[in-house]
């Protein structure tokens, strides 16, 4: 008998993903993303002058990535002030995006990328990164490639893709956030907590790469649909 997961998914099956670009009228680029129960909005403002000026890099532009969770987006109400988790995610996800964006074209400038999580059930950082690269493309920011992210890991002895909250809480759970440029397979985000053997790690990476290619297709479809809509 084929084992299935608590929500009926296959071991390497992603939750349903929906991406809608250009949802925020006043932003330079934006995207709405649903990934299972996760719901979020991303907006991009810029490139614009970096202020205060001493933070600017005269050689290249910067990405200012801000990830925030709404107080009602989690089971227990969260304090609206950003916590240490928000700040760490903002840093590593911003760095992952920075590798894809052609920042050398914007010396002294900054591109603000804001993510607001509205509802959550595990995997918000990879969903946020996936949505952000769509929003950057929507803003017309030049990039080497999209950035595509998924979570992989382990629960109840199985190596699985896209853990949900229930699986994240398993005794042996390992949650690994992974992101790459789907063209070159350059890995730009990797975070994990939990015990994995080398074999398990290799298997997890293999699944992550496959799943990223799947997510990339959805990102491209979303962006294409926008331009199709413009034509009509």
């Amino acid at each position: 008998m084929v084992k299935k997961r608590v929500d009926g998914r296959e071991m390497n099956e992603l939750r349903p993903i929906k991406i809608v670009p250009s949802v925020i009228e006043r932003a330079d680029g934006s995207a709405y993303l649903e990934w299972g129960q996760n719901k979020m909005i991303v907006a991009v403002y810029g490139p614009k002058e970096m202020l205060p000026k001493h933070l600017a890099d005269s050689q290249r532009g910067k990405i200012n990535f801000i990830y925030r969770m709404a107080p009602f987006s989690v089971p227990e109400r969260k304090n609206p002030k950003p916590g240490r988790r928000d700040i760490e995610i903002s840093k590593v996800v911003g760095e992952a995006l920075s590798h894809a964006v052609l920042l050398e074209e914007f010396p002294g400038m900054v591109i603000d990328v804001y993510v607001q999580i509205l509802d959550s059930n595990a995997g918000t950082r990879v969903a946020a990164l996936t949505a952000s690269s769509v929003a950057l493309a929507d803003a017309g920011i030049p990039m080497k490639d999209l950035v595509t992210a998924v979570a992989v890991g382990k629960a109840n002895g199985n190596i699985i893709a896209d853990l949900n909250k229930y699986e994240e809480d398993a005794e042996d759970a390992v949650d690994m956030a992974f992101a790459m440029l789907p063209g070159s397979e350059e890995i730009v985000l990797l975070q994990a907590d939990g015990i994995l053997s080398e074999d398990e790690f290799d298997k997890a990476i293999k699944i992550a790469k496959e799943k990223c290619q799947e997510v990339k297709k959805l990102q491209i479809e979303a962006l294409k649909s926008k331009f199709k809509a413009l034509k009509e």
């Binding site: 006043r26 719901k39 107080p71 989690v74 607001q116 509205l118 509802d119 059930n121």
Partner: protein, 261 residues
């Protein structure tokens, strides 16, 4: 960024001639769209668009200790976040004056109308009561955040479920005991005075051209339950009379929006 100095003069000129975008009347709202029950982790949730202004609101209920002066009552807290997503002039960081004023005006209208009977939120006198948190996010700013945020708050509250609790007063995840009851349905109307004309529901350009602003909350008995004047201009008594008259007329039409939820 958009240069509003040009727009302000243009808007003033147009308002003087009685012209608004989409031929809107002076006392007419832009299209209002409401979706509720969209966020699973929230006890109540709503997405509201007023024209192109977009708001998300979510509620959470927590058990807390009643205040010493109201030992038999729970309470409500309203917070508005001007998310940097919503406009280039919004910044990440501590709440601005604007967001604090917004939060307080929305809170006051709902509180003073006695929309929620705080006594019904009591669990154990002096010890335990429900406190309702309404968090409101401005996701696209195209003017009149006051009314848009109030509609979003009311829509989220009207669809709020009260969590089930066990005998130790711990919330049982994902289970609900019933709906939060709204005793009243207050409506907030915000007016802008531009070139001596008064218009309802200013859009973004009208917001920037506003000389004086008035928000008025009307309750089910057509009484005024909260007022807030803003910006540097002034209103005459006659103007205020006119505004109150318009808002009393508007109440029924606006109330229907909440009744349907």
């Amino acid at each position: 960024m958009i240069d509003y100095s040009y727009d302000i003069e243009m808007v003033k000129g147009r308002i003087e001639k009685g012209i608004r975008t989409n031929n809107r009347k002076d006392d007419e709202y832009r299209e209002i769209k409401i979706e509720t029950g969209i966020l699973k982790n929230a006890a109540g949730s709503a997405k509201v668009t007023l024209g192109k202004t977009m708001i998300y609101a979510g509620t959470k209920l927590e058990i807390g200790t009643p205040y010493p002066d109201t030992p038999e009552e729970g309470g409500i807290t309203v917070g508005v976040e001007l998310s940097p997503i919503g406009a280039p002039e919004f910044y990440a960081g501590p709440p601005s004056e604007t967001s604090i004023e917004l939060s307080r005006v929305v809170d006051r209208g709902i509180r003073e109308a006695k929309t929620i009977d705080f006594k019904k939120l009591l669990l154990v006198p002096k010890e335990k009561a429900w406190f309702v948190y309404v968090d409101i996010y401005v996701m696209n700013h195209d003017g009149n955040l006051f009314d848009a945020c109030q509609i979003a708050a009311m829509a989220a509250l009207k669809t709020t479920k009260i969590p089930k609790i066990d005998e130790d007063f711990n919330q049982i995840k994902g289970e609900y005991a019933g709906n939060l009851k709204l005793e009243k349905l207050p409506v907030l109307n915000t007016y802008s005075k531009i070139s001596n004309k008064i218009i309802l529901d200013p859009d973004l350009n009208e917001d920037y051209a506003t000389e004086a602003r008035l928000s008025i909350a009307i309750d089910d008995n057509l009484n005024i339950c909260a007022l807030q004047k803003g910006e540097k201009g002034f209103f005459t008594q006659e103007e205020l009379k006119e505004i109150i008259k318009t808002s009393k007329k508007k109440y029924k039409e606006m109330r229907k929006i909440f009744e349907k939820l």
